[in-house]
């Protein structure tokens, strides 16, 4: 993905503004962390923003000075961030705060300065490099690709994405529970009003446009709670990701872990709903018996590609949207000229509006394909 990021920003920044963006980076002077001085730093900046983080950065940056021994002094800071819980499983459960990684250090990587944080939790030294936690051991060692060779503890931290996801859960509850209560209290005789009406449109949309046509009139009702939940969960997280400031801006639905979990749940729901016809088609495909050793694995792999495609589709669409918006904004900083705002702001706005559509469309497609897969598993058809 970093290469992908590099591609996009190379195309945009290097091809269009090569002269302006190719500024030398100096590793031994005062550096304002979080600012962009080169296209490479822009890449890192964008990659950082579409990735998960152990603390929630709200705004501002640190003015730092790097020392020859690898340590970094923070000269001044306007940065505001929220330290989030760090939960590690490393010979037992270890809890800490992301602020415990308080020793800023730097390392040379591809001719650039890369920062990482070091911290001591329960007498064990850990380092956080590109938002991943490693054992310090005898220091940070990188392989030729730039990845640390240090061992890692299992990291179950409540990261920015987890927090953002919890926020979306709270918002969903605040949206739907009062509406549902209203139905219960006022009964069904009253015409729906306000929020109730707005939400009902989408609930009915999921039922009539997604569930009924794909699963069928008879069996759709069982899957409605699941389809409604993934639809609204994905849509809300997509929208929260488009909010450019706290508490939005997290790339939850563009994180492959998030999309993979939802896709795997869809896969499990599909397999557990599969009827006799569905399994017969996989385990006894209508081909000569001699081909079974080839066909059965192919059919089984065929079922696995579906959740994989769901995972990649949502992840790539949402992440690409974030990257394009950030790349347009990055033009201004990469070129160091406010005049570029004349181009990047309208283009960024255009992409943002497009992303509003994509936010809905991807939620719709994920739900729709889930319904379609479930539909093929519960469909009753006569074999020929």
């Amino acid at each position: 993905m970093m290469l992908y990021v590099k591609n996009i920003s190379r195309i945009i920044t290097v091809a269009l503004f090569a002269l302006l963006s190719l500024l030398p980076s100096n590793a031994s002077a005062t550096i304002v962390e979080g600012t962009v001085n080169s296209s490479k730093e822009l890449n890192n900046f964008i990659t950082h923003h579409v990735k998960d983080a152990h603390s929630w950065h709200i705004w501002g940056e640190n003015k730092t000075q790097v020392n020859a021994d690898g340590t970094v002094n923070v000269l001044s800071s306007t940065a505001i961030h929220i330290g989030l819980p760090v939960i590690l499983i490393d010979n037992g459960l270890i809890t800490a705060n992301s602020d415990d990684f308080n020793e800023l250090r730097w390392i040379e990587q591809d001719g650039d300065t890369t920062y990482y944080a070091q911290g001591k939790i329960n007498e064990t030294e850990y380092i956080m490099f590109h938002e991943k936690i490693y054992h310090l051991g005898s220091g940070l060692k990188l392989d030729e690709k730039g990845h640390p060779t240090n061992s890692r503890p299992l990291d179950f931290s409540l990261t920015q994405n987890v927090m953002s996801m919890l926020l979306s859960v709270v918002i969903l509850m605040l949206l739907f529970l009062p509406a549902a209560k209203k139905y219960k209290k006022k009964g069904i005789v009253s015409a729906p009003t306000g929020r109730q009406n707005f939400l009902e449109i989408f609930v009915v949309f999921v039922r009539d446009e997604i569930a009924k046509p794909n699963i069928g009139e008879k069996k759709y009702a069982r899957y409605m709670p699941y389809l409604l939940t993934i639809f609204f969960f994905i849509w809300l997280n997509n929208l929260l990701g488009l909010v450019p400031f706290f508490p939005g801006a997290s790339n939850v639905s563009g994180n492959i872990a998030f999309t993979a979990v939802l896709a795997v749940i869809t896969y499990l729901v599909t397999q557990f709903s599969g009827n006799k016809d569905y399994w017969k088609h996989i385990l006894l495909p209508p081909v000569p018996k001699a081909l079974y050793p080839i066909m059965i694995p192919v059919e089984i792999i065929g079922t696995l590609t579906k959740p994989f495609a769901l995972t990649i589709r949502l992840f790539a669409n949402i992440t690409a949207g974030h990257i394009v918006v950030l790349a347009f904004m990055g033009i201004i900083f990469s070129a160091k000229n406010i005049g570029w705002a004349g181009l990047s702001v309208p283009m960024g706005l255009f992409i943002s509006v497009l992303e509003l559509l994509v936010a809905f469309l991807q939620a719709f497609i994920f739900t729709m394909l889930s319904a379609l897969f479930i539909g093929t598993a519960v469909e009753e058809h006569s074999h020929h």
Binding site: Y4, K132, L158, T229, A257, A260
Partner: protein, 164 residues
């Protein structure tokens, strides 16, 4: 590459959060909302159905009314026609009976006239006979002197008297 390798922490928390969300929303949001929407749609369908039913009944009623009206009109026509026919037949009957009466009266009148005439003729005959007898007596009395004369007279009279 970092971006396409899912982190174990987010996998774990997403699973937990999603399952909790699904359970909560299913119980407290989707069930009441879907139930209410379905019930309302059922009610709307019912209302539409009953409206349609009412319309159908209205239509049936109107049709029935029209039928009744038509029937009544037909009945009236029949009655009128019958009345007319009855009147006509009555007039015809009356005419006929009047004719019959008239005929009968005429016939009896004629008969009476004929009878009266017969009576008159008989009377006349009787009178004439009597008169003739008287005349004959007188003549006989006067003529009996002359026998020849008597006989010629009687013959002559008899010839004359032979009226009828």
């Amino acid at each position: 590459m970092d971006l396409i390798i899912p982190s174990e922490g987010l996998l774990f928390w997403t699973t937990i959060v999603f399952v909790i969300l699904l359970v909560l929303l299913r119980k407290f949001a989707w069930k009441p909302i879907l139930g209410a929407v379905q019930t309302r749609e059922g009610n709307i369908q019912k209302a539409l159905d009953s409206a349609k039913d009412a319309e159908e009944r209205m239509n049936a009623l109107t049709a029935q009314n029209e039928d009744l009206l038509k029937q009544a009109r037909e009945e009236r026509n029949v009655i009128l026609r019958e009345a007319k026919a009855a009147g006509e037949s009555m007039v015809a009957e009356a005419k006929e009976s009047a004719q019959k009466d008239a005929d009968r009266i005429l016939v009896s009148a004629n008969e009476q006239i004929a009878n009266e005439r017969m009576k008159a003729v008989v009377e006349l005959k009787n009178q004439v006979g009597k008169l003739s007898l008287e005349i004959a007596e007188k003549i006989l009395k006067s003529e009996l002197d002359d026998k020849a004369k008597q006989e010629s007279l009687v013959n002559h009279l008899v010839e004359d008297v032979n009226l009828n």
